[in-house]
């Protein structure tokens, strides 16, 4: 959540264009930038993200039971998990079956068995990380009656209700096993690239086929962006491409996702396939968005073309990464001439 509205607290993924027309929730145009590394709020450092993804990946497969779709399912699962974390209730309504497995799975993996190596990693990362991992952990704790990993659950108290709820639902043990098996790969991958920011997650992974599939489901992408359970529906989805989804936002895809049927979940998932290099993604994001890069206080890199091309522009950089964007559209519409 590199960008946060200072008015309502809504966060935006790095590279998100949503905020260029003002905060969708409150209309505010003052934001603060918090690099992933520095973010206290988003403890989700690369590791956590990785773990989160991993968990999701593994679990989904098991739940869906379709091996070929594994990737997609995983993604869906992860999304659901996230969603569930955000709004457990929704999940329940949607179809406990699918979602439950997901939620529970991650926890199970970490806590329980098998994949020891991989799972263990996931667990640890999860603890560190704020979101998905935490949610997973909680669920696991609750689900598996006698799981050793109570510790993580405690840590995740922060994520409380939402995270836990999924857990309440009973998950089929079988799912877990499956998840575990798959997991290892993912976990290893993740571990290999600890540096990846939040952005890297799903989108990076997806291949073209997946991307195509995903394109239909645009809303899913949006979901991640709206952590707060946003009211605002469709407007954004179109604009933001996978990139936004990729970004940390995913962690709390939130309510929207829950509302939507499994399909959306799939969409999200797809990305998990293989990830293009972070550099590529970053370059693309830069192209799309970054007109002023705050290297650190007092040091800036400017993209002149972007500054020139975009209608909105930053009119005020403030202390500590806050900035104000001039949003011409917001008033131009009203009084065109």
């Amino acid at each position: 959540m590199p960008h946060q509205c200072t008015n309502c607290g809504r966060t935006f993924a790095d590279g998100s264009k949503e905020m260029l027309s003002g905060c969708p929730d409150c209309g505010g145009n003052k934001f603060q930038f918090a690099p992933a590394a520095a973010d206290s709020s988003a403890p989700t450092g690369a590791e956590t993200d990785g773990s989160g993804t991993v968990d999701a990946g593994s679990t989904p497969d098991s739940s869906d039971t379709e091996s070929p779709d594994g990737v997609a399912t995983r993604a869906a699962e992860t999304v659901r998990d996230l969603m569930s974390a955000g709004s457990a209730d929704d999940v329940a309504s949607d179809g406990a079956d699918r979602r439950q497995p997901v939620d529970t799975e991650p926890t199970a993996d970490a806590g329980s068995t098998a994949d020891a190596g991989s799972t263990a990693d996931a667990g640890s990362t999860a603890d560190a990380g704020s979101w998905p991992a935490s949610g997973a952990a909680d669920t696991t704790d609750s689900n598996p009656p006698t799981e050793p990993d109570d510790g993580p659950a405690g840590e995740f108290d922060e994520w409380p209700e939402t995270a836990r709820r999924p857990a309440d639902r009973s998950d089929p043990p079988a799912d877990r096993a499956v998840d575990d098996t798959e997991r290892p790969d993912r976990s290893t991958d993740d571990s290999s690239r600890p540096t990846e920011g939040p952005t890297t997650t799903y989108a990076d992974d997806e291949n073209t086929a997946q991307a195509d599939a995903r394109s239909e489901v645009v809303p899913a992408d949006e979901l991640p962006a709206h952590e707060d359970g946003d009211p605002r529906p469709e407007t954004e989805t179109g604009d933001e491409s996978p990139s936004s989804a990729d970004s940390t936002g995913e962690s709390r895809p939130v309510t929207d996702a829950t509302d939507e049927p499994p399909e959306h979940g799939r969409v999200v998932q797809e990305p998990s396939g293989q990830r293009p290099s972070i550099e590529e993604l970053r370059a693309e994001l830069n192209e799309q968005f970054e007109s002023i890069k705050i290297v650190r206080p007092g040091q800036y890199e400017l993209n002149l073309m972007e500054l020139y091309n975009r209608e909105e522009y930053i009119i005020s950089l403030q202390e500590d990464g806050r900035y104000v964007i001039d949003v011409p559209d917001s008033w131009r519409d009203a009084d065109d001439e």
Binding site: P297, G298, L302, N303, L304, L307, Y313, S330, D335, E337
Partner: protein
Amino acid sequence: MGLFTELKDSISRATDRLFSEQEPKRIGIYGPPNAGKTTLANRIARDWTGDAVGAESHVPHETRRARRKENVEIERDGKTVTIDIVDTPGVTTKVDYEEFTDEMDEDDAIRRSREATEGVAEAMHWLREDVDGVIYVLDSAEDPITQVNTMLIGIIESRDLPVLIFANKIDLDDSSVKRIEDAFPQHKTVPLSAKEGDNMDEVYDNIAEYFG
């Protein structure tokens, strides 16, 4: 709110444009930091209106907000050309406060750097929205081929604005007008020293010719 006043401004600007056909051309003075843009703007303003536009400094990014001097009337050959001069912050792709920590303490340097960055954004926005012609000021004692220069020139060209290139600081020993002419052969290059006031007649001739 600020938004409101901005809105009002923009409306009045739009109506101005609609109703006053002979509104003065708005000439933006662009260039990298420390090329002498403000010195030039001051020179022009003083020569024709008696007022200065802004403070000059040897420390880069002295000008961090675009400043305008309106209704500068320049007489050439009995003709009068009226222009608004917009002195813009130096355009660069990197702003680093450490460049001026020698000149001031760190907090001031960081603030200056931040303001300079905003200034660049503002300058680029002016270029996009509000400028009818561009005076591009380069330090003739420096290598004219840098990323910023070529990029900015490219942007200006893409707008089809009339452009004059001013090779400033010809009073310096390292100055080479030829180097600048060679770098941007597609544009008219005018040598001058804004600080010393050298060759200002040719400067005004060209301004009248290009922007009149």
